[in-house]
Amino acid sequence: MEFAESFVELNGCRTHLRRAGKGKPLLFLHGASGAPVIMPFMRTLAESFDVLVTEHPGYGRSGEPEWLENIHDVAYFYLDFLKHLDLSEVVLVGSSMGGWMAAEIAVRDTSRLKSVVLVGPAGLSAPGVLPADIFLMPPEDMVRALFVDQKLAEARLAEPVTPESIDAALKNRHTTARLAWEPRLHDPHLAKWLHRIDVPVTIVWGEQDAILPVGLAAEWRRHLPKARVEIIPRCGHLPHAETPDLFCDIVRKCR
């Protein structure tokens, strides 16, 4: 399945969008390392959904607007984005940083959402559960820590390094720091308003997530008691990359 590539001009930000498939819209919000390429799970989901994959403002090929200062700016941007494309009944899927964005969007307005899928999301903190220090880890250790299956890490490390990929990595890292350096990878005010999310929420977590430990899932469950929680065994921080079939089955149930 071919993804159509375009740029959406919105709020002074040229936003990179790839789109394919038929069905209810599904917007995938990527994590800290961006969404440089179309991944297998995106193609699989495009058989059941109208899949939209963006690069967030400040990431990859998208612009770096001056207004981008915190996670709330991203949430309001995406609410405008949904309106701009006139999307409704959207399945909003976010991984890691993208999961945090999805929650920040949903506490503000669910009128265009069908359901929310949070995949190893950042956004909450829990006493005694510390995320990995992603800003101090050497890049190679970081890639290894993403996966339980080290063959997947090897494959990612073997990908060619180009001047463009270096620029994108530095840009992504910069924006992640801007949004998540302090408080580290969470918004202390988010938990207060999670009860406002009035569409079904599914939380997916790799049982051996070495970036955001699975212990955080309990904190999300505490604030979202009706959410479905799927803990995936022998899986790390990126269930959509490490266990794509299982992940796509879970997402298809969220239609």
């Binding site: 270096i166 530095l170 720091a177 580290r184």
Partner: protein
Amino acid sequence: MQVVLFHLMPYADLDIEAGRKAGTVWVKLPNKHFDPVKGHKLYNRYLDELEYAEELGFDAVGVNEHHQTAYGLMPSPIVTASALARKTKKVKIAILGSALPLRSHPLTVAEEHAMIDVISGGRLISGFVRGIGAEYHTFGVNPTFSHDRFHEAHDLIVRAWTEEGPFPFQGRHYNVQYVNLWPRPFQKPHPPIWIPSQGSKETIDWAADPKRRYTYLQTFSPAKVVERYLKMYRDTCSGYGYTASDSQLGWAVPVYVGETDESARREAKEHFEVFRNVFVKMPLEMLLPPGYTSRESLKNVMKAKAQMFGDVSIEQAIELGLFVCGSPQTVLNSFRKYWDAMRFGNLLVLCQFATLPADLTRRNMELFAREVMPALKQLS
């Protein structure tokens, strides 16, 4: 030329092997390695050395700020500068500098510097820095806002020093209804401001601006790099339409003077190499967190990584002009040669580094002060 004795106050009693094994003495080296009893002796020894500098005829003594590291035991240079303000009588006291973005409120810097300036009768030189990359890890302050916070904090401090209070300050990061500094600084319009830097175009553009004309100090860099950045500063001033005075330029460099070239190298070798290869060392991710520098500068550092992050021997360091070491004549000749090329009006010498013990430090200071400094002071 104005000559400053600069001190870092390192934890000289560090278990060096522990530092080497940890890969860095910054951020994560466990503080069980700090012994307060040894620390007590070190602080007092180092303050004695700074006070001795006045007796030896240095123009100024300099202290600086670093956090959670064995590299330097001055998380607050205010404390050491305060002690010096009372113990010394003539020498200028340079804080090089206070790390503005790390403070939750810049008015505390304005107040503390003003106090020291008033107590010392106008002997303060104020330095402002952003703090090094590692300190954004230790403090949790967001490095992508580092420049913004620095500039805004600076504006608030200078206005607090110079404008009649109370007045309101409306910023993006700091908002104060009543800026009304008690005490106001002793010097008019305010203490001189120096900007220590490892070299960055953004900093030079800002410091050289005709509204500011702040003294720019290049710290611990190979002489060629110092020369490049000091030239960039002069060119920037020309671009602004004025000629930089030599007093707007400074170089901070470790120095060791011995009886002969051979004995100087022999005495300094172990201590300098521990300084360069243990105390200074840290991984790239720690040194340059995102946003601390422009991404272009970050890429340049990544390219030069092997050279910057590898070990350097004392011989290589002398060759590079990263360290000035030798007999009094050799050291004087080196500085004359560097001065001819760069015309820096301020020289900051680090006469104690890493594990260099008290007796060698004192002799180094004495030989430098008696046999090198008088001729340097004549340069202009």
